[in-house]
Amino acid sequence: MSALDSLYQQIILEESKTRRGGDLRDDQLDGQHLPANVGQCHQLNPVCGDEITLRIETAEDEVSGIHWAGDGCSISMASASILSDMVVGLNRAEVAALIANFREVMRSRGKLVADEEILGDAAALSGVSKFPARVKCAMLAWVAAEDALNQTR
């Protein structure tokens, strides 16, 4: 597989169009007056304009819903879609561990092999780590999710 093909695996191209969780409405973008179990975060990559607003809803200790609106490259949109499919039903500690693992793989400059047991479909994004300029794209939704979850109680 060429480096380009490892970056743009079929599943990534598909997820970037499916955009699971990409249903945050325009009137929800400002994120004002959220109940305590809901957190929301806006992330922007000023270099390329990739942008996401991501909302996480919790019930007790678990993520019960995730919704986002965004515009960006296929990597950033696929990453948000895959993330949305993974986190519902996980508890805080599990989400934190998942994000930490993903971040470590992304920052490894291609040295770490993603563990599919842990990362599931997100393992398909491991090709991104060989393209330092794209790591931010892949991390965008995950950073937003981390921040949004930290806001919830």
Partner: protein, 438 residues
């Protein structure tokens, strides 16, 4: 020689000349991702020919010293290099020696101008400096197509002084709405700052018309010549602008050097921005007198080797012939736009083929984000710029938040443009979006 001075009729460079030119740019001869490098990002930063690198090396090998300061032989030699460089670069843009101030780049140059205007607007200032003052009721006018470098310094000036920032809108094809310009330029307008050539659409603005409108109301004209000084014969006196800025790294020179042109009478009356050593006459514990321009604006140790290198770059460009370079890039620009317009699902920003433009083209690919387009092209060894190109308001106006830009220079060949076009033709199939529309 027929002696015609009209650069519109200059012959473009020929393929043989370009192959010779390319030998002067060692960086171009490399493989990127196992493909010959096709460098189409000179609008962001250009490559340096050997003569430019040699000028910098020669300075450090033979003359490195403090300028305008020492009595020793090397200091004199360094000062000569520095001031000769100023003459060369000033002549290159049609200015006199004392009308060129060195800066780090165009951004620093625009900030120098805006902050100097700001310094003339607050506190106690002498009468001569009052013509630069702006305040409540005054307007600073820019255009909707500006690079952030020619927008934010003016936003900040207005924030500090209470002046109002306004802008001349553009049409859908990227050209300036000159009817709006005529109504927006009024007695309240104190400054008109605009780009000569857009770094996104390649639009070449009607400088003479804008200068006439501005001067009729006594406004000062600041020209962003970042994308024109490298690519076409520039004569700031003929254009009759009051100030102009440019960046060396976009015109075959290294980073860290650029310039501000200002009319001599204006520069000598304008309060300084950066202050400190090398720009003063008599200094007491209470106050200081300032040297005339250009030294008044060159506080601290200056980029000497970079100035020498920029002079070498101007010599390289002059010897090749700016009119011929411009004619060549116009051909490449036309080829780019025609080629891109012929590819399904591509929208070119800016004027359609047939309308004069600089040798660059930014475009949108239906269904594929610019970042992905750039990645795909990079895998083919093709270097382009992706993103908003430091022009967010322009992109927003055109309904986008990013685009892909190919920009050419004197070392690019038609074969490279064709290789680029062939690669772009494969983008949508690769990303599986052939059905998507713009």
């Amino acid at each position: 020689m027929t002696g015609t001075a009209n650069h519109g009729h200059s012959l473009p460079l020929t393929d043989t000349e370009i192959l010779r030119i390319r030998n002067d740019f060692p960086i171009l001869e490399q493989l990127v991702n196992e493909q010959p490098l096709v460098y189409l990002d000179s609008g962001a930063t250009s490559q340096n020919p050997l003569s430019v690198m040699e000028a910098e090396q020669e300075y450090y090998e033979q003359r490195n010293s403090a300028v305008h300061r020492g009595a020793h032989t090397l200091a004199v030699a360094a000062t000569d290099v520095f001031e000769d460089a100023r003459s060369t670069v000033a002549a290159f843009i049609g200015a006199d020696d004392n009308e060129l101030v060195w800066t780090q780049n165009a951004t620093a140059g625009l900030n120098l101008i805006a902050y100097s205007f700001g310094n003339a607007s607050v506190g106690k200032v002498c009468d001569a400096a009052k013509k630069f003052a702006v305040g409540p009721g005054d307007e600073v006018l820019v255009t909707e197509m500006e690079h952030h470098a020619n927008l934010i310094p003016w936003q900040e000036l207005c924030r500090r002084t209470g002046a109002t920032l306004r802008f001349i809108p553009i049409y859908d094809d990227g050209t300036l709405d000159m009817a709006a310009a005529a109504t927006l330029i009024t007695e309240r307008t104190k400054v008109l700052a605009f780009t000569h050539v857009s770094n996104v659409t390649g639009v070449i603005n009607p400088v003479a018309e804008l200068v006439a409108l501005a001067h009729a109301v006594g406004a000062l004209v600041v020209l962003d010549a970042c994308q024109s000084a490298p690519h076409l014969p520039l004569d700031v006196k003929a254009l009759d602008v009051d100030f102009a800025v440019f960046s060396g790294h976009k015109m075959l020179a290294p980073t860290g050097i650029g310039g501000v042109y200002g009319r001599a009478a204006l520069l000598d009356a304008m309060p300084p921005f950066l202050t400190g050593g090398s720009m003063i006459t008599t200094v007491t514990m209470e106050e200081a007198g300032y040297l005339p321009a250009p030294q008044r604006f060159e506080a601290g140790t200056q980029p000497i080797s970079q100035a020498a290198a920029l002079a070498a770059a101007c010599n390289y460009l002059s010897e090749t012939g700016m009119a011929r370079i411009h004619a060549w890039e116009a051909e490449l620009g036309k080829r780019l736009v025609k080629g891109l317009e012929g590819i399904e699902g591509i929208r070119v920003l800016g004027p359609p083929a047939g309308v004069p433009r600089a040798g660059l083209a930014a475009f949108e690919v239906a269904g594929v984000h610019a970042h992905d387009v750039g990645q795909f092209l990079d895998a083919a060894g093709i270097a382009v710029r992706v993103g908003h190109h430091c022009a967010q308001p322009l992109h927003r106006r055109l309904g986008l938040n990013s685009s892909t830009r190919a920009s050419t220079y004197l070392y690019n060949t038609t074969a490279e443009v064709d290789a680029f076009l062939a690669a772009v033709a494969g983008v949508r199939a690769y990303f599986g979006v052939e059905g998507a529309s713009l």
